[in-house]
């Protein structure tokens, strides 16, 4: 006697027999209502596989199993079945097991697993595309920056030389305008490049000794004119308790404060701008300082307080600027592990407070560490300039010759530089990075690795470039250069680097 389980089992299995032509000669119709006399090939396209399973040896029995096959009838009800074919003597016995329920359950697990893997792999791809886009953007900015900075170097350099000539009042005023505009242009390029480097993670802060009071005074002096010219009071305070001998990135600190003062100036028509530095405390080698820039300008509404730090945000579109200044400030403060607060009321003014931990410099800092390198009086040094931009070459030549203690030769390629150093004794090479054929990096590698002559092998090399590639200083050092200077540079910056390398060369 059949028990209930056996009955259930029979309901889940169908037996079908077909002849050599595919005609159904037996079907128990338990699952599918195929009738005897019909073609199995018409029942479902799956069964057309039978033909390709048949062997030339008809007498031999062959068995094939196809698990998890989706079969459906005309009413579209679908079953998921395991199907076994036993083929012998032209007849095929088909056993169909209906495992729909079990397979549906199984599919839920598979669905979940696949979905999570697909999502992760798609994210990986999207992320890669974003990185590629970002790199493309950064390379583009670096490249365009180079193209724009090179002529700007010449403009600013020659302007500096022109300022030292005899000028009448009108000429002086015109030069002032050119200087202001070229400074503005340089700031915009700088902002664009800084943002791109910060976003790409390629931005590194310098660690150099500096005097905070000197920095404070420099900033005050360079901002007093523009602020007072707008009939604003410029209130400045520096805490007497501050230890001003510090270590950090003074250039970036200058940039942060200048950007904030510049911002205050843009949005203040009357009243005051206040710049103060206060000691908050600190122990041992670290000192906590608060840098505060306050104004009586138009103020910022609560809704706009976050937006002002976003790139390309400008509260007043009529005001000149790149809209990147405050974004750079926030990013730089964050890189310095500091905090920036904005306290402002619409119509009453704004107060930006930066809190930073700055490292105290040791008391033994020498003059050299402070950047003051004094060369022996009366001694002459021979310097080789390797620069393919003739304007820049001429500019460096003029600056160096004006000092009176340098002999200078100039060439336009690394190949010419090699011939020069093999034929003459130099104390320093100043080389551009982006030269034709052999680069400045390759020139440095060659000098360091191809000569037994110590006078050549150890020749100090100063790299210069308008290229804004991330880590370019590190790359220059890795190639064998001793120092690197970004274009555009001032006369003071160039001479400081030149004097340092010559001074260190003498010490060795």
């Amino acid at each position: 006697m059949e028990n209930e389980n056996q009955k259930k089992f029979y309901k889940k299995v169908q037996l079908v027999t077909v002849d050599d032509s595919g005609k159904i000669i037996y079907s128990d119709a338990n699952l599918f209502k195929w009738k005897e006399g019909e073609s199995i090939y018409e029942a479902h396209p799956f069964f057309s596989i039978i033909d390709s399973l048949k062997d030339e040896d008809h007498a031999k029995e062959h068995e094939f199993t196809f698990p998890c096959v989706h079969l459906n009838e005309d009413d579209n009800s679908q079953r998921i079945c395991d199907i076994t074919f036993t083929i012998c003597l032209g007849e095929t016995n088909i056993v169909i097991f209906d495992y729909t329920q079990a397979y549906v359950e199984l599919n839920k697990i598979s669905q979940e697993r696949n979905e999570s893997i697909i999502k992760a792999q798609e994210l990986e791809f999207t992320n890669r595309l974003l990185i590629e886009k970002e790199n493309f953007k950064n390379d583009f900015i670096a490249s365009i920056n180079h193209e724009l900075t090179t002529p700007l170097t010449s403009i600013k350099g020659f302007l500096e030389l022109l300022e030292k000539t005899k000028l009448d009042y009108e000429q002086e005023e015109l030069i002032k305008i050119i200087r202001t505009e070229s400074d503005h242009l340089q700031n915009i390029f700088g902002d664009m490049f800084d943002i791109s480097r910060i976003e790409s993670g390629g931005f590194k802060l310098e660690k150099e000794p500096f005097d905070l009071k000197e920095l404070f005074e420099t900033i005050v002096n360079s901002n007093r004119g523009p602020i007072e010219n707008q009939a604003l009071d410029f209130i400045t305070e520096i805490d007497g308790k501050l230890n001003t001998e510090l270590v950090g990135d003074k250039t970036r600190l200058y940039q942060i404060i200048s950007n904030l003062l510049n911002n205050a100036l843009k949005y203040t028509d009357e009243g005051f701008i206040k710049f103060s530095i206060e000691r908050l405390g600190g122990k041992n080698k670290r000192q906590q300082v608060a840098i505060v820039i306050e104004d009586s300008g138009i103020g910022i509404s609560d809704e706009d307080k976050q937006a002002v730090f976003e790139p390309f945000s400008q509260l007043n579109p009529n005001i000149k600027g790149s809209g990147l200044g405050l974004n750079i400030v926030r990013s730089l403060v964050s890189l310095m592990d500091g905090e920036i607060d904005l306290d402002s009321k619409l119509g009453e003014g704004s107060k930006f407070t930066i809190r930073l931990g700055l490292k105290n410099a040791s008391d033994e800092n020498s003059e050299e560490e402070k950047g003051n390198y004094i060369l022996p009086e009366g001694e002459k040094f021979r310097i080789l300039i390797v620069e393919n931009q003739l304007n820049t070459q001429y500019l460096i030549l003029k600056i160096l010759l004006a000092q009176g203690n340098f002999f200078v030769d100039a060439v336009s390629s690394a190949e010419a530089a090699i011939r020069a150093i093999e034929n003459r004794n130099y104390q320093l090479i100043i080389s551009d990075i982006k030269l034709e054929e052999m680069s400045g990096f390759q020139l440095a590698q060659r000098v360091r690795n191809h000569y037994g002559d110590k006078a050549i092998k150890d020749l100090p090399i100063l790299g210069i470039s308008a290229l804004r590639a991330p880590n370019i200083t590190n790359k220059a050092i890795a190639s064998g250069m001793d120092a690197f200077l970004s274009k555009p540079f001032s006369e003071k910056q160039l001479l400081q680097k030149v004097n340092r390398l010559l001074y260190l060369g003498l010490s060795n």
Binding site: P45, S48, I49, F66, H70, Q111, T126
Partner: protein, 164 residues
């Protein structure tokens, strides 16, 4: 009139769009919902060739496996053509493609193989071509089951190969 019936198996990793290509070709339908295929589903489409041949294309839409040899081998039996589908937005679905193709060619030397990068709608064609070149992936078609781009062309090409 000559009547032919040929089996075409769609293979490749999971989630690459085999079922979407299958549905786009058979029913001209597409759904953005991903539903993993368990086992195999089979449908046919009859097309008449220019030379008058009536070709019944029996398409086997198989469940996805990163490695074909891990799949159910019975699904591949008697295949006249394979469509190896990969997802152009997922490197994992084509990084070992050459090994997969070697496996197919070794075990089914007479079968036609078409290599298809799907989801062309998701990324620019230029970017895809660059990425595939970097990964040394040779393909026959880049398709979008979503928009239908190159789906007809793919199966028409297979049909021609199967009837000549």
């Amino acid at each position: 009139m000559i009547k032919l019936s040929k089996k075409i198996a769609l293979v490749g990793s999971f989630g690459v769009g085999k079922t979407s290509l299958f549905r786009r070709f058979i029913d001209n339908e597409f759904s953005t919902d991903y539903k993993s295929t368990l086992g195999v589903q089979i449908q046919k489409k009859v097309i008449t060739m220019d030379n008058g041949t009536e070709l019944t294309m029996i398409l086997w839409d198989t469940e996805g496996h990163e490695n074909i040899s891990e799949g159910r081998s019975s699904y591949l039996l008697g295949s006249h053509a394979f469509v190896y589908v990969f997802d152009i937005t997922r490197v994992d679905t084509y990084k070992d493609i050459n090994d997969q193709l070697v496996f197919l060619k070794k075990h089914y030397p007479k079968a036609i193989i078409k290599v298809v990068g799907n989801k062309l709608d998701a990324v620019s064609k230029k970017k895809v071509v660059e990425t595939l070149q970097e990964n040394k992936v040779n393909y026959d078609y880049l398709t979008s089951a979503k928009t239908g781009e190159y789906v007809e062309e793919l199966f028409a090409d297979i049909a021609v190969d199967l009837t000549t």
